[in-house]
Every structure is written in C-alpha cells, then in structure tokens.
C-alpha cells in the first residue's frame, strides 16, 4: 500500500517536471503545444547518448540534458513557434502535431525504434527498507530532485523580478505590455526553461516511463491531463494534479490491471465535466 503511494508520488513528481513547462506556455500565450513531449524525448535521448555511448557520468548527464533541451527549445521558439502564436487554435494543433510526427520519425531514423535504457550508476540501484516499506533508491532520487525543483520554481515565480513579470503577463498580457514588460522575451525564456525541464524529466524518467520514438505520443495525454486538471494559472495546480494522476495511475494499474489506463481517462473526463477550468483553478472573470 505504502509502496504504491511512494511509487505514485515519484511518478507524479516526474510528470510535474515534464508538464509544468507546458502549463506555463499554455497559460501565458494561450498556445496549445502538443509537441511538448518531443522536448522531453530529446532530453532522454541526449542522456542516453552521453551516458551510454560517451561515458559521461550520470550526475553530469542530467544538467547537460537540461541545458541542451533548453537551447533546442529556445531555438525552436525563436524560429518556428513565434510565427504561430497569433494563429487560431486549429493551426496551433496542426503545427505541433506536425512537429510531433517529424520528431518521432527523425528519432526512429537516427536511433532506431527499440526502447533505450540509461545506465544508472551502481549506487542508485537497489532499495532502502524503511519501516518495512521498500523504497527504490532511484525513485527516492527522483522525488528529491523534483521536490527541490518544485520549491525552486515556486520561489522563482513568487520572489524574483522575473517571476512577477511572468505572473503579470499570465494574468493580463495587454496590461503587462502596457507597463513596459517585454512579454515576447519573457515568453521565450519561459519556453526555453520549460523545454529544459521537460528534457530533464525525460532524462530522469527514461528508466521508469520507457524511452522509445513514440514517447511524445504516448505521454501527450498525460501532460494534457496534468494541464487541464491542474489549470494553467498557478504552479501548485499542476503540481497537485500530477501527484494525483501519478498515484491514481499506479494504483489503478496495480489494483485493476484489467482496466489499465482507463481509470485515468475516466477521471479526466469527469473532472473536465465537473470543473471545465481545472480542479484547482482560481475562478476569475476574464
């Protein structure tokens, strides 16, 4: 029971790191980025190449994956995405689905279609036994890293000048622009950072989620659930939603394996009917 809870929390934390960039881009520019998973996949493959082929230590591979994916995200944002912000939602959906298809085929071409594994250092394998509950060391590390990241994100958004600009831009873009905030630059930085986080999540999660070329499609629905259930106005909403989703998914797969992912889809639809703006969204009149 507690092991399920523990695994669920680890899984949820991972989903949060993967999806929080998406929730910010959606809230900030009202932009539906279905290609978010592609950046996570990029981070995962980056780590696989670095750690398995070149022999970079795992601890160094993770930050490199973050930086590389962030750079990639920034590049795409400035060259491609920037043209699509003002388009209709349909155009955004088409554009990002196109990117997903391209990334899936390109990774298949370069890396092959088989599942990839990151070589995890010996020290992180195995379990701790605490009060009779087995806790895998790797999952503990994930919870630790993701927990620290969450706190750091919350501090950045709540305390720094950049954070207040970001919040202002999310709340009302036009007024923020009128106050002299360069919303475009704020968005570019946020997009790159969010992509980097996704890349880090992909690198960390390669072991648990599995990494193959269809990754962006397989986990697309999970990211979208986190965002729609959690709402896009804060960072706590998606966080709680990810933890819930992680526990529900692990518990669902454990107790009713017959239904599999059916459990979380049902939860999502029920939540969307009950609270279309998200479970934890502030009800503001816009």
């Amino acid at each position: 029971m507690l092991t399920i809870l523990f695994d669920g929390v680890a899984y949820g934390m991972l989903l949060f790191v993967l999806a929080c960039g998406l929730s910010v881009t959606l809230g900030l520019m009202n932009f539906i980025n279905l290609a978010h998973g592609a950046f996570a996949m990029a981070g995962g493959y980056c780590t696989v190449i670095l750690v398995n082929r070149i022999g970079v230590p795992f601890a160094l591979g993770l930050p490199i994956a973050f930086v590389a994916t962030a750079a990639l995200g920034g590049l795409f944002e400035r060259t491609l995405y920037v043209h699509v912000y003002r388009r209709s939602h349909l155009d955004q959906v088409l554009f990002t689905i196109g990117l997903v298809f391209m990334s899936v085929a390109a990774v298949d071409y370069v890396m092959g279609s088989s599942q990839q594994f990151v070589l995890i250092p010996q020290a992180l394998q195995g379990q701790f036994i605490v009060f009779g509950v087995g806790m895998s060391k790797y999952r503990l590390l994930i919870i630790l890293i993701c927990g620290l990241l969450t706190v750091a994100l919350q501090l950045i958004i709540a305390k720094t000048r950049f954070g207040s600009r970001l919040r202002a831009a999310v709340d009302d873009q036009r007024v923020a622009r009128g106050l002299g905030i360069n919303v475009g630059a704020v968005f570019a930085v946020t997009f790159a950072f969010g992509s980097g986080l996704a890349g880090l999540g992909g690198a960390l999660g390669a072991e648990i989620l599995g990494l193959d070329p269809t990754f962006p499609l397989k986990y697309l629905i999970y990211f979208l659930i986190v965002v729609t259930v959690g709402g896009t106005t804060s960072i706590t909403g998606p966080f709680l939603a990810s933890i819930l989703l992680g526990i529900a998914d692990v518990a669902g797969k454990y107790y009713v394996p017959k239904l599999g992912a059916f459990v979380i889809y049902t939860i999502m639809i029920v939540v969307l009917i009950w609270r279309p703006q998200g479970l934890f969204a502030r009800t503001t009149a816009r």
Partner: protein, 343 residues
C-alpha cells in the same frame, strides 16, 4: 416578413443548386470504376477516407469544433460491423452498415454533451480522451475484440445478397463509392438547409447566434451526432471491405491524419474532404514508395509547412484555381442564365 422569407429561401435554393463542376466531379468519380480497374483497392481506401473527412468537415468546417477524437466513432462502428458479421447477427452488409452508423451516432449524441462545455482545449481533450478510452477498452477486452491481433474471422455476406466481395476489391469499391455518394448528398442537403446556415452563423459568433434566437447547444449536439454517424459509416465500410478490424482504427494517428486530410482539401465546403483524401492517399503512396519506414516525417513536414505558409493563403490559391475552373466549366457547359423569378 414574407418577402424576407422568400428572399432567404431563394438565396438558399440558389446556393444549393448543383454546379456543372460538381456534376463533372461525380461523373469522373464514377468513371474511375472503369478507368482504373487495377487501382480499386487504393481507391476504396480513398473513398472511405473521403467519407471520414466529410464527417470531420461537418463539425470543424461548419460548426467550428476542433476534434482530435473522430476515430472513436470510426473505430466503434468498425468493431460493431465486424462483430455483427462475425457472429451472424446481421448478415446483410447494407443493413449492418446502417446500424453501425446509428451506433456511432448514438455515441456521438452521448458524448456531444461533453463537447459543449469549455474552450477549444477542453474540447480537444474530451474528444481525444473519448477516443483513447475506447482504444483502451478495445485493447483490454481482447476476448471480444481480438486485442492487438485484431478482429479475425469476419466473413462479410454479399451486398444485398447479390454482389460478393471479391479479392480485387471491385465490388468493395463500387459499394464504397455509392455509400460515399449517398452520404455526400445527405451532407450537402444538410449544410445548404436553413439548419446548415444557422450552423455557419454560430461558428462565426456563438453569442450573436444565440441572441438572434438560434439554440446554439441543440444545434451543436445535432451536428455532432450526425457527423459521428458519418464517421461510423466510414469505419463500418473499412471493416466490411477488408473483413478485418484492428486496434489502429481507434488510434490517435487516425484522428490526426484526418485533420491533415481535411486541411489539405480545405474546410467548410464539403469537397475539401474528398479532394484532400485523394491528394493525401496519393502523397502517402508516393512518399511510402520513396521511404517506406519514415513517411510519417514528411506527413509532419507537410503539416508544419501548411501552417507556416498560412491556411488562408493556401485557401486563397484554391479559390483562385476553383474560380478559374468554374469559369472554364461555365464556358464549356454554357446554358441560358435563368431569369430572376420575381413576379
């Protein structure tokens, strides 16, 4: 108020008239039966895709609902028609087809209430979620659906008890083409009716449409149900012509490809789905012969390119070409212009 009503009905009647170009299009479509007998298998797929795309055009092009889950109805009806044929519940394909359409429409009716709520993103999620749920169910209940191996042992009886499905797909193609044509005529009738006009108005501005007395929600439910039925017909046709049904009828890729088909052809004039299906199948065939494994990359590339160039611009080119062909057609089929029928 009578003169306005008369004006409106005259306007509608004028718009709904079959143009020579449309007639030529359908004559050519039926001529392909004799023109390309060796290509009937791929033409069958094209006709099914075209019908599927028309169903999406009804909700996207006319009601403005973005859906990523049209495959739900396609797949449900596909499995339904496969199961009734396998267990001999309804043997005659045409009756099975109609029932499959009705089953899909029933699902459309039930899920339409979910689609009414919320923004584009919520709609996207709900439609996608419904399709994924069905996919997961079909995967889990493999004792009924065959799971990942697909539904096997489906034997389709001859159409109307007369025409047996043959190996080369001749019967299948004629059957699909006729179903496509009949469905198209019905869809055309729907969108040129006052009902269709009210759909257009609520796509343009739901608030104003409601203000002039159009029951927005009820119209959306109605068109979503009808479109689901059409998607169901397409799904049932696929199962009947291939005598097989696998999990990929419910996949996300099917819904996403469908969007591409419709975007290539253009939304909101029904022929977009048909033209898009022809171009898409042609492209897919061509790219797959170049790079069998990685054709998805180029499909994605086309999507990205379309958006970056701008759909409006492409539709503008399409309009110019269409106007040109129309003028050409009008000159060829020159007929005396009807005098204005005012007393």
């Amino acid at each position: 108020m009578v003169p306005i009503a008369a004006d409106v009905s005259a306007y509608l009647a004028r718009r709904a008239r079959w143009s020579p170009l449309e007639i030529a299009f359908w004559i050519f479509a039926f001529a392909t039966i004799w023109l390309f007998p060796s290509k009937h298998l791929i033409l069958t797929e094209t006709a099914i895709l075209a019908l599927f795309a028309v169903s999406l055009d009804l909700i996207l092009g006319y009601a403005g609902i973005i859906s990523l889950g049209q495959a739900a109805f396609f797949g449900l009806a596909g499995y339904f028609s496969g199961l009734v044929a396998k267990y001999g519940i309804i043997n005659e394909p045409v009756i099975a087809l109609v029932f499959s359409g009705l089953v899909a429409a029933a699902l459309g009716f039930v899920t339409s209430f979910l689609v009414l709520r919320g923004s584009d993103l919520t709609r996207l999620m709900v439609t996608l979620g419904v399709a994924l749920m069905l996919g997961e169910l079909a995967n889990r209940f493999s004792n009924i659906t065959g799971g990942a191996d697909g539904l096997q042992g489906v034997a389709i009886a001859p159409v109307l008890g007369l025409f047996r499905f043959d190996l080369f797909g001749h019967t299948g193609y004629v059957y699909c083409l006729i179903v496509l044509f009949v469905s198209f005529v019905i869809a055309r009738r729907i969108v040129y009716s006052p009902f269709g006009l009210s759909l257009r108005s609520l796509k343009g501005n739901p608030l104003r449409a409601a203000a002039i007395g159009i029951p927005v929600d009820r119209r959306l439910v109605a068109i979503y149900t009808v479109a689901a039925g059409f998607a169901g017909l397409a799904g049932a046709l696929l199962t009947q012509t291939t005598a097989f049904c696998s999990l990929d009828v419910l996949s996300f890729e099917r819904s996403a490809d469908l969007l591409l088909v419709l975007i290539i052809g253009g939304t909101g004039y029904l022929y977009g789905g048909l033209i898009g299906a022809v171009i898409y199948k042609f492209l897919q065939d061509w790219i797959a012969s170049l790079t069998p494994q990685y054709w998805q990359f180029w499909i994605g590339f086309v999507l990205v390119a379309i958006v970056l160039v701008g759909r409006e611009r492409i539709e503008e080119w399409g309009r110019v070409t269409r106007a040109f062909i129309m003028r050409l057609g009008a000159r060829m089929f020159a007929r005396p212009t009807a005098a204005p029928d005012r007393p």
